[in-house]
C-alpha cells in the first residue's frame, strides 16, 4: 500500500467506519434509513463540528435517496439554518436572495435574505469526511451510470480516502465498465508504488485506457522515473494510448464529416433530380428547402406540446408544400424556358427572391424558433475521447433513408422509369407514349418535395430564417456538379466526401478557410473533369 497517500491512521479508521456503516445500510429497512436520516439532520442542525460529523455519518449510512443532495450541499457550503424557526435548508443564491429547498421534502421553500440564514460551518476534517461520504454514496448508487460518473470524476482527483474506498469497492462491482474505471484508478495510484514490478503491473492495467487522467499520470511517471524497464513500459503504454486517442479522434472527425456530408447530400439531392436529371437550373431550390423548414415551424405551432410528433408530421407536410410550390414553378415559368438554361437560371432566381420576401412579409423577417424533441439532444458516449451526438446520428440516418427512398423511386417505379426515359431522349420517350409534360411537372415536384423534407431536417440543426436557403444553394450546386450531373450515387459520394474533407481541413485551416479550400478544389476539379466524378455515359451526355 502506498503509505504516502494515507495522511493519518485516524482518517483511515474513520473511513473504515464509514464504509462499514454504508455497506450495512444496504440491508436496512427503508423506514430505519429514513429515521437515521432525520436523526442525522437533527445533529447537523446543532452546527457544532463534532455533532455535525456524527450527523453526516448517520445521513450517509441511512442510504436515503435524499442523502447525496444534502451532503453535497453541505460540502459546497450551501446548507443553511433559518434563524426564525431553526429549520435546515439547501440554499442557492439567486437574484432575489437565496432560493430555499427543504432537504426533507426536496420541495422549494420560498426565498430568504442573507440575514435570515445561518450557514452550517465545516472544517477541513468535515470536508474530507464529506468528500468520502458523497463519493461512497455515488459509488454504491444502484444506478450504474451514476457509479460510472463518480468513478470518472474520482480519476481526476485521487486522494488517499477515495483510493481506499475504491480498493474496497472494486471487488464487489458488478458492472464491467465501472469496475474498469475503479481498477484504472487503483493502478494509477500504484504507479507511485515502491517496487518497479508493481509499477509495471499498474502500467499493464492502464494500457488502452483513454481517460485524460491516465495519460497525465503516466506522463508524470515518465518525468521522474529512473528504472529503465519501467520507463520503456510507460513509453510503450503512452504511445499505445496516444495511437488509440488519435484513432478515436479521427473517428470523431469522420463522424462530424459524415454528418456535415449528410446535410449537404440532403440539401443537394433534390437538386440532383431537378438539375441533374431534368437539366433545369433551379436557383429557387434553397428557398424550397426554406419552405420545408418553415413548414416544420408551422406544424409545431399548430401542435403545441407535441414536438416530436409534430416533427414527424412535418416531413410529409413539407414534402407536399414544397412539392406543390415546385410544380407551380414548373407549370408557371420553367416549362416555357426548356432548352434555355441561362434564362431558367434568371427566372428561378427571381422566384427565389419573391419567396424570400414572401416569408419575410407573411411570417417574420427574423429567425423563428423550431424546437428540438428531447430524443434529438444528448449524445452517445463511447469513451472519454469519442462521443457521438444524437442529432448528428439522426441526420446521417435520415439522409440515408431519404436517399434510399429516392433511389427506389427512380429505379423501381414507373415514374422513375419515365423520368429517366425523358431525361435521356425526350423525343423518343414521347414517341413511346410518355406524357413528357406531366413527367416534367411530377419530377420537378419530386425534387422540390425532397428539398422540403431536407428543410425539416435542417430546421433541427440551424436557424430557420428567410435566408436559410441562400446558405445552401451554392453548396448544393457544388455537390451536384462535383458528383456528376444526373447521378444520384454521385451526389451521395460527392456530398459525403466534401463533408469529410471539410472537417479534416477544419482543425488546421479553420472553418472558413476550409470551406474556401473546398470551393477552390471543386473549381479546379471541374476543369479537370467537367462532368463530375461519375459522368453520364453515352450519347445523351453530349450536350
Amino acid at each position: 500500500m502506498p503509505t504516502r497517500l494515507l495522511r493519518s491512521p485516524l482518517s483511515a479508521l474513520r473511513l473504515w467506519l464509514l464504509i462499514a456503516l454504508t455497506l450495512c445500510a444496504f440491508a436496512q429497512a427503508a423506514l430505519a434509513g429514513s429515521a437515521e436520516f432525520e436523526q442525522g439532520i437533527e445533529l447537523i442542525k446543532t452546527n457544532k463540528y463534532d455533532q455535525v460529523e456524527e450527523g453526516v455519518t448517520l445521513v450517509a449510512s441511512s442510504r436515503d435517496p435524499r442523502a447525496v443532495g444534502l451532503l453535497a450541499a453541505l460540502q459546497d457550503s450551501d446548507l443553511y439554518l433559518r434563524k426564525a424557526d431553526g429549520r435546515l435548508f439547501i440554499a442557492t443564491r439567486s437574484d432575489a436572495g437565496y432560493d430555499l429547498i427543504d432537504p426533507l421534502t426536496q420541495a422549494a421553500a420560498g426565498v430568504a435574505g442573507q440575514r435570515d440564514l445561518k450557514r452550517i460551518r465545516i472544517n477541513n476534517r468535515l470536508r474530507s469526511q464529506l468528500r468520502t461520504a458523497v463519493a461512497t454514496l455515488n459509488l454504491t448508487h444502484p444506478d450504474a451510470v451514476v457509479r460510472l460518473t463518480a468513478v470518472n470524476e474520482m480519476l481526476d482527483r485521487l486522494d488517499a480516502d477515495s483510493l481506499a474506498l475504491l480498493r474496497d469497492l472494486a471487488g464487489e462491482e458488478k458492472n464491467a465498465q465501472v469496475r474498469e474505471g475503479m481498477t484504472a484508478a487503483i493502478a494509477l495510484a500504484d504507479l507511485e508504488a515502491e517496487e518497479p514490478a508493481r509499477r509495471i503491473e499498474a502500467l499493464d492495467q492502464l494500457e488502452g485506457n483513454l481517460h485524460p487522467a491516465v495519460q497525465g499520470g503516466i506522463q508524470r511517471l515518465l518525468s521522474q522515473e529512473q528504472d529503465a524497464e519501467v520507463r520503456a513500459a510507460a513509453e510503450h503504454v503512452l504511445e499505445a494510448i496516444q495511437f488509440k486517442r488519435d484513432l478515436y479522434g479521427f473517428a470523431e472527425t469522420l463522424f462530424f464529416g459524415l454528418s456535415l456530408g449528410s446535410v449537404l447530400v440532403l440539401a443537394a439531392i433534390g437538386l440532383a433530380i431537378t438539375f441533374g436529371v431534368m437539366g433545369v437550373i433551379n436557383m429557387a431550390h434553397g428557398e424550397l428547402i426554406m419552405l420545408g423548414a418553415y413548414t416544420a415551424y408551422i406544424v409545431q405551432q399548430l401542435m403545441p406540446g407535441h414536438i416530436g410528433l409534430a416533427l414527424f408530421l412535418a416531413i410529409p407536410a413539407a414534402f407536399l408544400v414544397s412539392g406543390a410550390v415546385g410544380i407551380l414553378i414548373e407549370r408557371g415559368v420553367i416549362r416555357f424556358l426548356y432548352g434555355r438554361p441561362l434564362e431558367t437560371l434568371l427566372a428561378t432566381f427571381g422566384i427565389s427572391l419573391i419567396l424570400q420576401q414572401l416569408v419575410r412579409t407573411l411570417i417574420s423577417p427574423q429567425n423563428v424558433p423550431v424546437a428540438n424533441p428531447d430524443w434529438m439532444s444528448g449524445s452517445w458516449q463511447i469513451n472519454s475521447v469519442l462521443s457521438l451526438t444524437m442529432n448528428r446520428m439522426y441526420i446521417i440516418a435520415f439522409c440515408l433513408i431519404v436517399f434510399t427512398a429516392l433511389y427506389l423511386v427512380m429505379r423501381k417505379t414507373s415514374l422513375g422509369l419515365q423520368v429517366r426515359a425523358v431525361s435521356q431522349n425526350r423525343a423518343m420517350a414521347r414517341a413511346m407514349g410518355v406524357r413528357s409534360a406531366r413527367v416534367d411537372a411530377l419530377t420537378f415536384g419530386l425534387g422540390s418535395g425532397i428539398a422540403g423534407v431536407a428543410g425539416v431536417a435542417l430546421s433541427q440543426l440551424t436557424n430557420v430564417g428567410p435566408n436559410l436557403g441562400q446558405a445552401y444553394i451554392i453548396d448544393s450546386f457544388m455537390v451536384v456538379v462535383f458528383g456528376g450531373v444526373g447521378n444520384l450515387w454521385g451526389t451521395l459520394v460527392a456530398g459525403m466526401s466534401l463533408g469529410v474533407v471539410n472537417k479534416i481541413l477544419e482543425p488546421w485551416a479553420g472553418a472558413v478557410l476550409a470551406k474556401i479550400l473546398v470551393l477552390i478544389f471543386i473549381i479546379l476539379f471541374i476543369q479537370k473533369r467537367p462532368r463530375g466524378l461519375f459522368p453520364q455515359k453515352g450519347r445523351a451526355a453530349e450536350g
Binding site: L337, L342, F349, G350, L353, I354, F477, V512
Partner: protein, 361 residues
C-alpha cells in the same frame, strides 16, 4: 478608332448623346445654380448618378461576355469588388495619420488587430499610379487565370456560370476573414481624400461623376469597337456555335480568354470609380446575389446591344433607390417579378422592344 464603330448603332448614338448632355448639364446645375433654385441638382443626386454610371460600366462589361460571347458570368461582382478594394487600399493609405489611432503607416483596422507592420500586399498602394494599375491588373490576372483554366478544359454554359459563382462566393468568405488583411467584415471605409482632393467636397463629387461618365463612354466605345471588329464577329460565332467555330480553325479558348479578361478589367475600373463615391467597400460586394443582379440589369436592358445594358443598369437601380425608399418590402418582390417577366415575355429586353418598334415603323 475606325469610322464604323458607331455606324448603324442608333441606340448607341442616342445613348451617347444623352450621356454627353447629362455630363455637361449636371455639373453646371450642381455648382453654378444656387441651392434654392428648383433647377439645382444636389450633390447627393450627383453622387447617386455617378454610382449608377459605374454600375452601367459594369453592366457593359457583363454584356460584352454574355451578349457577345455567350458566357453567363455570375462572378463579375468579384472583379468589380477587387477593383474597388484596390482603390479602397489607396484611399486607406491616403488617410495617413488622420485615422482614429493616428498611426501614419497602418490603417485603423490593422492597429486594432495589433498588427505591427504593413503586410506586403499593401505595399505601394500609397502611390496612385500603382493603385490604378492594380485596379486593372488584379481583376485582369484573376480573370485570366480563371479563364485559362476554365476555357482550356472547355467548361461551358451552366457549369461555367456555377463555378464563376463559386469563385465570388469563395472570395466573399475569404474577405470576411480578418486575417486576410482587408478589414474583414467592416471592409475599408472612412476615406478622406483622393489625389489630394477632399472626397466630401462638391467639386470632387462632380469630378468623380464626370470621371465615371467618361469611363462609361470609353468603355462603351471600346466594347463597341470590339464587337464591330472582326474579333467581334468571331465572338458572336463562338456564342452561337462554339464547336463549328472551333472546327473552322479558330482558337476558341484564346478569343474567350482575352475578351473575358478585358471585361474583368472594365469591371475592375467600374469598382474603382464606385468606391470613392459611396465611401465604403466591404465583402458584401462579393456576395453572389450582387453578381446575379448585374446579369439582371443586362437581361432587362437587352442583351448584345451594350446600350441596353446601360439602360437596364440605370433603370433597375433607379427603381431600387426609389422603391427601397418608398416601400422597402416591395423591392424584392419587384426585382423578382422583373426577373420572371423579362425572361418570359421580353427575352430581348427593353432594347429589343425598341428595336422591334423601329423595325415595324
Amino acid at each position: 478608332m475606325r469610322l464604323g464603330t458607331l455606324h448603324l448603332d442608333r441606340g448607341g448614338q442616342i445613348f451617347l448623346l444623352l450621356l454627353a448632355l447629362t455630363t455637361l448639364l449636371v455639373p453646371v446645375l450642381n455648382l453654378a445654380v444656387p441651392a434654392d433654385s428648383p433647377l439645382h441638382v444636389s450633390t447627393f443626386t450627383v453622387t447617386l448618378l455617378g454610382k449608377y454610371l459605374t454600375y452601367a460600366l459594369l453592366a457593359i462589361a457583363v454584356d460584352l461576355v454574355w451578349g457577345y460571347l455567350g458566357i453567363l458570368s455570375l462572378g463579375h461582382g468579384a472583379f468589380f469588388a477587387l477593383g474597388g478594394y484596390a482603390m479602397g487600399m489607396y484611399l486607406m493609405r491616403q488617410i495617413g495619420d488622420r485615422g482614429v489611432y493616428g498611426n501614419p503607416e497602418l490603417p485603423d483596422f490593422m492597429v486594432f488587430l495589433n498588427w505591427q507592420e504593413l503586410p506586403w500586399f499593401w505595399q505601394g498602394f500609397d502611390i496612385f499610379w500603382f493603385a490604378a494599375l492594380m485596379v486593372m491588373l488584379v481583376p485582369g490576372v484573376l480573370a485570366f487565370v480563371f479563364g485559362w483554366l476554365a476555357f482550356r478544359s472547355r467548361v461551358t454554359g451552366v457549369y461555367l456560370s456555377i463555378i464563376t459563382q463559386a469563385l465570388t462566393y469563395a472570395l466573399m468568405l475569404a474577405f470576411f476573414r480578418n486575417e486576410m488583411g482587408f478589414g474583414g467584415n467592416n471592409g475599408l471605409t472612412d476615406f478622406k481624400d483622393l489625389l489630394g482632393f477632399d472626397l466630401q467636397s462638391d467639386a470632387t463629387r462632380v469630378g468623380l461623376f464626370i470621371a465615371s461618365a467618361l469611363a462609361v463612354v470609353g468603355g462603351y466605345l471600346a466594347c463597341r469597337y470590339i464587337v464591330t471588329s472582326k474579333l467581334g464577329r468571331v465572338t458572336v460565332a463562338i456564342r452561337d456555335a462554339e464547336s463549328r467555330t472551333r472546327f473552322i480553325g479558330y482558337r476558341v479558348e484564346r478569343f474567350k480568354l482575352w475578351v473575358f479578361t478585358f471585361s474583368a478589367v472594365l469591371a475592375g475600373i467600374a469598382g474603382a470609380l464606385y468606391v470613392p463615391q459611396v465611401g465604403i467597400i466591404n465583402p458584401g460586394e462579393f456576395s453572389p446575389i450582387n453578381s446575379i443582379e448585374i446579369v439582371v440589369w443586362v437581361a432587362i436592358g437587352g442583351r448584345a446591344t451594350l446600350y441596353g445594358a446601360v439602360l437596364g443598369a440605370l433603370l433597375v437601380n433607379y427603381g431600387k433607390t426609389y422603391l427601397t425608399g418608398v416601400m422597402p418590402d416591395a423591392w424584392l418582390f419587384a426585382l423578382g417579378g422583373l426577373f420572371v417577366l423579362v425572361t418570359l415575355l421580353l427575352p430581348q429586353g427593353i432594347a429589343g422592344l425598341l428595336r422591334r418598334k423601329e423595325a415595324t415603323a
